[in-house]
């Protein structure tokens, strides 16, 4: 797998889309890590006498209806979005992976688990997330759990199908024959070789989590005001669309750029880790 990764890497990085996405994500990650050094403004501090100012050298993206600096809010909002994205991906891999392993490796459990997952997957993920966020209330942590819950069935399915395709191969049988434990076989031999589809799915989940977090915040059940979130900013800015269009424009651009970049990275990763594409470059 690692050899495959490096043999494809040199070819993939030559792809313009992938390179642009990597550069953009690097810049965004740098900006959100060092936000306090990039902007002096507090994203929550009001200065309403200075409301609805258009972009200027002091306020690069203007100010909102409370006189808050939009540049600072966009960066802190993106920070929240990325935190949600990372957390959702980690939780989805853990829970989706565990359930997928159980279903794939232990065939007695397969039917039961998969029927439950089929049931969960019958609902669109965002509907489950909205319902859970509405029951538990908004807030970053509740959103992370709600989104993870709605994404994990798909991840579990992917892990299960990887395991099913690997577990009957000769080298697994050899491992069993020499007395390797189930845990060792699952972690050392099966999951290690299933990493490629998991990583690809994780990168798409990341982009989707950011988009869904924005949707939930837009609907008022996501990150609670006055904490900045890109979706929440767009929601609040609707009333000012005609008088101060910059309030809605910048968070909108940020969401598009982040989600597009992660999707492009996901595409690149899929190509990197796909042995069928090895000779296509």
């Amino acid at each position: 797998m690692i050899i495959l990764f490096f043999s494809n890497l040199s070819k993939i990085v030559k792809k313009t889309n992938f390179r642009i996405a990597i550069i953009i994500i690097t810049i965004i990650l740098f900006s959100i890590i060092f936000t306090p050094y990039i902007t002096e403004f507090n994203p929550r501090e009001n200065n309403s006498r200075n409301r609805l100012q258009s972009p200027s050298l002091t306020h690069y993206m203007g100010t909102d209806e409370f006189g808050r600096d939009i540049f600072a809010r966009v960066l802190y909002g993106a920070r929240n979005s990325i935190q949600v994205g990372i957390s959702v991906v980690v939780l989805t891999i853990i829970f989706g992976g565990m359930v997928g392993v159980l279903a794939g490796y232990y065939s007695k459990l397969d039917n039961v688990i998969m029927r439950i997952l089929d049931g969960l997957m019958a609902f669109p993920g965002i509907i489950i997330a909205i319902s859970l966020a509405a029951i538990w209330g908004g807030g970053k942590y509740n959103i992370i759990i709600a989104l993870s819950f709605s994404y994990f069935p798909k991840m579990a399915r992917i892990v299960r199908s990887s395991i099913l395709s690997i577990k009957d191969l000769e080298y697994i049988e050899s491992a069993k024959a020499i007395g390797a434990s189930n845990t060792r076989i699952i972690f050392r031999h099966i999951l290690k070789n299933s990493i490629s589809p998991i990583m690809v799915q994780a990168s798409f989940n990341f982009a989707r989590a950011i988009l869904d977090e924005a949707a939930l915040s837009f609907l008022g059940i996501g990150i609670m005001p006055p904490n900045p979130s890109l979706g929440g900013m767009i929601s609040d800015a609707r009333s000012f669309l005609t008088v101060a269009p910059w309030i809605i424009t910048f968070p909108g651009i940020f969401i598009v750029v982040i989600v597009l970049s992660f999707n492009l990275i996901g595409d690149g990763l899929r190509d990197l880790l796909d042995p069928h594409l090895q000779n296509n470059y």
Partner: protein, 531 residues
């Protein structure tokens, strides 16, 4: 000679015309014009949904605003804020202010075709005394209601009760007295009424919660003979159907009027005022500052069970900054400590002197320390659909955090807020808007007295406040009563059970094709027609 000839020809012409044109010609034209006004459906974008439609059972003024079309009061306010007889024909006060003799209009029909009589008024009034907020304020001083005939009643008090007629006509939610059919009262008692039979120009058709309320013209409506003036006088239901749609999103309300989906939108962003003025299809309607943004505290729970903590809130808030946050355009708000507007006989220019609009965060911190505030986060429960409440809550959180007070913001839809704020625990601060159109200071008793409204105020100070209102109620001399009112203001700003942060105007928009629309504080749709 020539002059005489001209005069003769003119006289002949007039005579000829008078023979050709029938004597009722102009009346006929007027009648035809009136006939042309009838018909059509008006679609209204209402800013929030309501929990139910029983105005006696709720403090939500939107209910009164909509159900004004279905129910009418014995008395209604005109545009000069004077109560005029409406379902009442006239009234007389005798026995030194203890007895109100009210004669009813004859021939007024309910939506089920039956005539309104004293029995309906008595049933409605008894329910009002029991259920309605203002009714329960009046009840302790009220003795009995006497039925004299089908069209005459006596309202008898234990002692003189000066503001009675004004309270009956009050446009404020949970105060106004409306006449319902006695069968409805018998069916529902004090429970929330879900079937509506009134005497108003429109009949209740159906209500889908969170979606819409539909009203239909009452063909047999019997209007008041008085000249129309806001809620009083003649109401003519030209429009056939009224549909209230509950649209919480202001941009949707605005775009609905722009595209013709709605004919009227309630409370749209004031920042867009100039844009509306420039649009020939839209008529902006500015309701002069008739609303107060109120800072409500839960007086039963720490820290606001201590008056110093309540005073601290006044010093902690930069009200001008709040004005920009809550309303925006400074043309639409003003700082005003008096609960009655300038020009009202109960206005006080000295109300809140020394404390109101005296932003002093250090003093606020001192007062909080004096009150023994332990740093427990304060919970603000406020509406997320109402812009003033939502923006205000966010701005207040920011300002309180600046003096080191941790704040938890809980924003809900309107029905949830109404439910939460009615609880004794679970909240510390609530933002609400009060109508400034209050005809008599006695009405404040319904909010300010011991355990009144949602304040949960019950201590030695609330008892003193009750005593002030008790004196206010029996005093009939204006000068002497005004002194008591000033005492009320002083005591209110000393103990601060709640306070008004600022006054603000509201901006509604109406389609230009709607004719004769009045800029009243609660929009009404009788006496209007489409071009």
């Amino acid at each position: 000679m020539k002059k005489t000839l001209k005069v003769s020809i003119a006289l002949l012409l007039i005579l000829g015309l008078s023979l050709i044109i029938p004597p009722n010609h102009f009346t006929v034209i007027e009648a035809q014009e009136n006939e042309e006004r009838y018909g059509g459906t008006i679609n209204i974008a209402q800013k929030m949904a309501v929990a139910h439609l029983d105005s006696d059972n709720s403090t939500d003024w939107l209910i009164t605003s909509m159900m004004n079309h279905v129910y009418e009061g014995l008395f209604e306010f005109d545009e000069n804020l004077e109560a005029q007889p409406h379902l009442a024909k006239n009234y007389e006060i005798t026995d030194e202010g203890r007895k109100y003799i009210v004669e009813l209009r004859e021939g007024v029909l309910f939506h089920n075709g039956e005539e309104m009589t004293s029995d309906d008024v008595m049933a409605s009034f008894n329910r009002w005394l029991e259920v309605n907020g203002a009714g329960s304020t009046v009840a302790p001083y009220f003795k009995e209601i006497e039925r004299v005939s089908d069209y005459e009643l006596n309202f008898i008090f234990e002692e003189p009760y000066a503001p009675f007629i004004n309270i009956l006509a009050s446009p404020v939610s949970n105060q106004k007295f409306v006449v319902r059919h006695q069968d409805i009262i018998e069916e529902f008692g004090s429970d929330v009424i879900t079937d509506h039979i009134g005497t108003g120009p429109y009949k209740y058709l159906d209500w889908i919660p969170d979606r819409n309320l539909r009203l239909e013209r009452f063909e047999d409506y019997q209007p008041s003979p008085l000249e129309p003036s806001y809620y009083s006088g003649e109401r003519i239901p030209y429009i056939e159907n009224i549909i209230y749609e509950f649209i919480t999103e202001p941009t949707v309300r605005v775009s609905g009027v722009q595209t013709g989906q709605f004919d009227f939108a309630e409370e749209v962003p004031t920042d867009q005022f100039e844009m509306f003025e420039a649009n020939p299809d839209i008529e902006p309607v500015v309701i002069y500052p008739d609303q107060m943004a109120m800072f409500i505290m839960n007086n039963a729970q720490p820290p606001f069970d201590n008056k110093y903590a309540r005073q601290a809130m006044v010093y902690a808030l930069d009200l001008e900054e709040l004005g920009y946050s809550m309303i925006g355009n400074p043309e639409f708000w003003r700082l005003e400590a008096s609960l009655h507007e300038e020009g009202n006989p109960w206005y006080s220019s000295t109300a809140g002197e020394g404390i109101y609009n005296n932003y002093d965060p250090e003093k606020a911190e001192e007062l909080l320390e004096k009150a023994g505030y332990d740093g427990t986060p304060l919970v603000i429960v406020s509406g997320q659909d109402d812009r003033v409440e939502r923006q205000g809550a966010i701005a207040i959180q920011d300002q309180l955090e600046k003096i080191g007070v941790e704040v938890e913001l809980q924003l809900f839809d309107r029905p949830t807020v109404v439910e939460r704020r009615a609880e004794k625990e679970g909240w510390n601060i609530h933002l609400s808007t009060f109508s400034k159109i209050v005809p008599d200071p006695q009405i404040h008793q319904g909010w300010t007295g011991t355990n009144k409204w949602i304040l949960n105020w019950d201590d030695e100070y609330s008892a003193q406040m009750d005593e002030i209102f008790a004196r206010m109620m029996v005093e009939t001399d204006y000068e002497a009563r005004y002194e008591i009112v000033e005492e009320f203001y002083d005591f209110m700003w000393e103990t601060v059970p709640y306070f008004n942060m600022l006054d603000f105007s509201r901006l509604n928009i109406v389609n230009s094709s709607v004719q004769n629309f009045q800029e009243a504080w609660q929009p009404f749709f009788w006496n209007i027609w489409f071009e």
